[in-house]
Assembly symmetry: C2
Homo-oligomer: 224 residues x 2
Amino acid sequence: MRISELSTASGVTIPTIKFYLRENLLPSGEATSANQARYDESHVKRLTLIRALLEIGGLSVAAARDVIDAVDNADLPLNQVFGIAQRAISGSNLSTNSASAESRARVASVLTERKWHVTDDNPGLAGAAKVLDRFSALGHPELIDLIDDYALAADIVARADLRVVGKQPNVAAMAETVVAGTVLGDAVFAALRRIAQEHVSSEMHPAPHPLSQAPASIPDRRKS
Amino acid sequence: MRISELSTASGVTIPTIKFYLRENLLPSGEATSANQARYDESHVKRLTLIRALLEIGGLSVAAARDVIDAVDNADLPLNQVFGIAQRAISGSNLSTNSASAESRARVASVLTERKWHVTDDNPGLAGAAKVLDRFSALGHPELIDLIDDYALAADIVARADLRVVGKQPNVAAMAETVVAGTVLGDAVFAALRRIAQEHVSSEMHPAPHPLSQAPASIPDRRKS
DNA sequence: CAACTATAGACAGTTTCACTATCGATAGTT
DNA sequence: AACTATCGATAGTGAAACTGTCTATAGTTG
């Protein structure tokens, strides 16, 4: 398969494929001479994954490279693959200032309640606490207690995730499943949440009629 | 409060505040003369919201403006506020080509099973179907069936969301809760999911020891 | 009240990111 | 032989989110 065929097969333009090659997102094809190389199905599949990570997952090219490296690194323990995939989403808020003691304690209370046991460096711990701090800062501390229900939901999701991963035939397939499940799973969940919110909302407030229309009525306040 | 005080109170630099004023994210202060204006607590709060939307929610400035307009527009039905907030996250994948009939049917089957009733234009319907298509394209159709468990989790989350919203004293507070809950809620959920994944993973595969370490071992494959 | 700092508003400049475009040398194709 | 495709290198583009500079004025301080 030549680069032009790879391009039509994957729907990615040749300049973009070259860009991904330069950025080490896509392994180079087998060189047949100084300026010819052959590509195969694995390249098509890799491009599909790259586009899914960028378009659906909203990852940056750099984050996608980290994730892809993890997939390729077959002898990486599964937990690390999970960590890399999760970290890639909504790019590392790790470096910034840490969360308050109150919020961290609140997160810890959830772990106790749910009997969750994780290592202290789990990035979710700091991430969750940091968001709880924002709830307070926004003047909506009542949102903090949502975390208990969210934790129950997260437990359900994580068990489903791991069940599917466990059914994979080999480690390479497991890693791919972890990545696809983690990055695209977020998008599915967000979509379902949107559906559920509308359902529950109309269930609780059975409005006469004009609920959920296209929001065409709000004025456009863009700069002049 | 002058702009310099607003800056220190909110932690946002003056040039950035001016930028937000230009972009209509932040209402201008009360003008006391041609080149003086007074700001108050509402401006501090608004800046806190803006930074939360941009930093935690990962919204673009344009998406944040839509969300903020919805919050300010007090007579907007709650469902529309939900819709705007959800649409702002992972910027409108609406325009692109639509999903396959199979995936849309699979999503419809979830609605039937969960007895969810929503309007046909709910953006979650197309969004979920589109991701299912990606699962197939990636060669991982087994991930499609995750949707049933995800839907159960989404139901739990949505009921919790609506319960908190319903407790708000007035419509303005409800709108703010919807926005904060939707945008920041995604971040909390993602963090909890990360925690739950590690817990469930170590529960299922009680590895001897070296699970979940800092992924320092993967080589850096950045371009030379 | 003079010196100095701060402010509003206008507008230009910067940085990062994800591509795109061009080029020269060579390879394959008709 | 003429023509198109490809490789690798390098440069350019456009959007996004700030950031910096400038001018005319306003407030503040010694």
